[in-house]
């Protein structure tokens, strides 16, 4: 009698089933906690993710089910758990710190270096390279770089590589008697100066917000400082060891930003509240990613443009989210196997329904039209395809979480119209010891 037959016969009676479970439990624990998990049959995988969007979940579940159907001997089930703590990363790290470690997780780019540095993420390079047709080289080097260490290890697949762009409410501009700024794209006049002029005029005429960054709160200060790259401003040096908040470029940028608040082009900051949503129809310009177009309907006419140029020219920015296997997962191998499947070219194309892909082969109007059906092919070409290969990832730092509140406190006076020089010098004094490590 094969073990399977025996098992099936034994489980016909409930008593036998209970006895069997008991024996199984004992023998499993005798194996020393199942460290060699592959030997103990198919496992259940858990992935933590930031989105609780039902469509996102449905797609992931579909891919997950397809995988378990094919690899039922390795993975019995895959569950996708949204972590919707008001602060996703706090929720995730809290979960990990608590020892309730998911096997895979959605990691926002801001936390990437910190997680890689802390050894929390599992190197999946060998797994990905070992899969036929995975084509790791297809992934844009600029997109993959933040998730690699010096030895070439790969710690995540940046499934969402989404450029920041400028949303324009055409109806509001028209109501304010302002010109159509879309015609300026590609000309030297398409600058932050022009856009903020229009924003200020629109605010004056309609009372609507001029230009805002909807994800900006004082605690999420990087949503605004990142735009300084058009001024050549960066918060710290490339190696992360030197504070550059006090650089002339950053001072110029922040002073400019302050002036925009003062003249009404940018709404004033209120506590740590986020500004109005573009979807409310009460905002002329909004700096946001491609995915935001999903929340827009036909209630007003809008356009999707690349970010304007600043004094230092045009510097596109992408925001990323990666999917990683966690080092403390008990089923690293199985999880890495699923990661390779989830992000292979075919599934990457499915994911690009919602998330702009990091794969060069998918950067085309047809694929991206799925991600943002509300955009025109021209908008996709100019604001995404032309932009992504050269775009920089938002500034990151391996110990960001340790000094982010110091920067928040230091920048607060800037938003309120205080002296920029004093503020940024203070920030560097505060955070330099941490940066130098």
């Amino acid at each position: 009698m094969s073990p399977k037959e025996y098992f099936m016969r034994a489980t016909r009676s409930r008593g036998a089933a209970i006895a069997l479970t008991g024996v199984l439990a004992v023998s499993l624990s005798a194996c020393g906690g199942g460290g060699d998990s592959s030997a103990s049959g198919p496992v259940d995988l858990k992935m933590a993710l930031w989105s609780s969007n039902e469509d996102h979940l449905a797609l992931l579940q579909e891919i997950g089910d397809a995988y378990t159907a094919e690899h039922g001997d390795e993975v019995a089930s895959i569950t996708f758990e949204p972590v919707t703590n008001p602060d996703y990363i706090a929720g995730l790290t809290t979960q990990i710190a608590g020892g309730d470690v998911p096997d895979l997780a959605w990691i926002p780019e801001a936390s990437g270096p910190e997680f890689v540095d802390a050894g929390i993420l599992h190197d999946v390079r060998d797994t990905l390279e070992g899969v036929d047709g995975y084509d790791l080289d297809d992934i844009l080097p600029a997109a993959l770089e933040p998730w690699q260490d010096d030895d070439g290890g790969v710690y995540a697949y940046p499934f969402s590589n989404s450029p920041f762009a400028l949303y324009v409410n055409q109806d509001l501009l028209a109501a304010a008697g302002q010109p159509d700024v879309t015609t300026l794209v590609g000309t030297p006049e398409y600058t932050w100066a022009t856009i903020t002029d229009v924003a200020a005029a629109t605010n004056g005429a309609t009372g609507a917000a001029g230009l805002n960054v909807p994800t900006f709160t004082t605690t999420n200060w990087s949503a605004v400082t990142m735009l300084g790259n058009a001024w050549g401003a960066a918060p710290w040096s490339e190696d992360g060891a030197t504070c550059e908040f006090a650089s002339p470029e950053m001072v110029d940028y922040l002073t400019w930003y302050q002036d925009q608040i003062a003249r009404g082009a940018i709404p004033a900051v209120s506590g740590n509240a986020a500004p109005a949503a573009f979807a409310s129809g009460d905002v002329a310009f909004s700096v946001a990613q491609l995915s935001q177009s999903g929340s827009l309907d036909d209630s007003f006419e809008w356009s999707f443009l690349p970010l304007p140029a600043g004094p230092d020219g045009y510097h596109p920015i992408v925001g990323q989210a990666g999917v990683s296997v966690l080092e403390r997962s008990e089923h690293q191998e199985q999880a890495a196997g699923f990661l390779a499947y989830l992000t292979n070219p075919a599934n990457a194309e499915l994911l690009s329904q919602f998330f702009p892909p990091p794969r060069a082969s998918l950067l085309n109007v047809e694929t991206l039209s799925q991600a943002a059906p509300k955009l025109t092919p021209e908008e996709i070409q100019t604001a995404i395809i032309d932009v992504v290969p050269e775009a920089q990832v938002k500034p990151q730092h391996p110990v960001l979480s340790q000094f982010t509140d110091k920067v928040r406190a230091g920048l607060d006076p800037v938003w309120a119209g205080g002296d920029v020089e004093t503020a940024v010098t203070g920030i560097c004094e505060q955070i330099s010891p941490t940066l130098e490590g």
């Binding site: 949204p82 972590v83 919707t84 703590n85 809290t94 710190a97 309730d100 009460d282 995915s291």
Partner: protein, 287 residues
């Protein structure tokens, strides 16, 4: 002459009365206006929230704010979570604190004073101070993202001491004659408590019940630390989470959800406010 004086007196008292009413109306504003504004603003379209000059009533009434309350999050389930947690906390506190308060007031047992001093001292250890070990313990027991910490902490933790104190003050002034009569009839100590002292402690029960309910209902810090899936959220946490999928704020939806959490309790309070306030007034904190 007399009538003149009386009239002057009456006039003066009328002036005083009018001044007093005017004063009370003005003082009412900061207490009443925010709640009214929240309620009416949940009927405004999102772009009317910051309209100038500010208006209490919507120019254009809409139910948009409520439309997404239930679709963006499992709001009904979250409502249920808050309610059942608050119900367990309230009922348990009413009973357990009463037993402790009664014993501290009426029964002599070893280390009684030491135990009571310990209770009072523990009031100075809020959850914020001890959150890290509590967090690690909750994780070690696998109770993260469950409601257990939100139930156990307010019932048994240091915040429950106020309830014990209220009951103790109440039972200290409870007439001994009642108890003695019952004891002479052969009723046991426990019987005296359950059949005589507790049923007669209605004001204290009301006060403790209200305070326990509010304590549970206002619990935000602990929920923030321990809960992470929307299905498990309590209302306080849920209100802060009204953002669209891209992180943008849904103002009118948030206000709609806030109104839905506030209005029913406010209505219950208005109906029962006499008992409510009288119960609190007789807490014994009045010295």
């Amino acid at each position: 002459m007399r009538s003149d004086a009386a009239r002057a007196d009456r006039n003066r008292s009328r002036v005083t009365t009018i001044t007093l009413y005017a004063l009370l109306v003005v003082l009412s504003l900061p207490f009443l206006y925010p709640t009214l504004w929240m309620f009416f603003s949940s009927f405004k379209p999102a772009n009317e929230i910051f309209v100038q000059p500010p208006a209490l009533l919507p120019r254009e009434w809409t139910l948009d704010g409520f439309a997404q309350v239930f679709t963006a999050q499992p709001f009904l389930q979250q409502y249920g979570n808050s309610m059942y947690i608050a119900a367990i906390v309230t009922v348990s506190s009413i009973l357990l604190s009463a037993m402790a308060g009664y014993a501290f007031a009426r029964i002599r047992f070893p280390l009684r004073n030491a135990a009571f001093t310990l209770m009072l001292a523990a009031m100075m250890v809020p959850t914020e101070v001890t959150i890290i070990p509590i967090f690690t313990a909750v994780n070690a027991m696998g109770l993260n993202d469950t409601h257990w910490p939100l139930i156990i902490l307010p019932i048994f933790g240091p915040t429950s001491v106020v309830s014990v104190f209220i009951y103790r003050q109440h039972f200290l002034s409870f007439p001994k004659e009642y108890e003695e009569a019952a004891r002479l009839d052969g009723v046991s100590r426990a019987g005296v408590f359950f059949r005589i002292a507790l049923p007669l402690a209605k004001p204290a029960i009301a006060a403790v019940g209200i305070m326990a309910f509010l304590r549970s209902f206002n619990m935000y810090f602990e929920a923030l630390i321990f809960l992470r899936t929307p299905e498990n959220f309590t209302l306080g946490l849920a209100i802060t989470r009204y953002q669209d999928f891209y992180g943008e704020q849904m103002w009118n939806t948030q206000l709609g959800a806030a109104s839905l959490t506030v209005v029913p309790i406010l209505v219950v309070f208005l109906i029962a406010q006499k008992q409510f306030v009288q119960g609190l007034a007789q807490t014994g904190i009045k010295g």
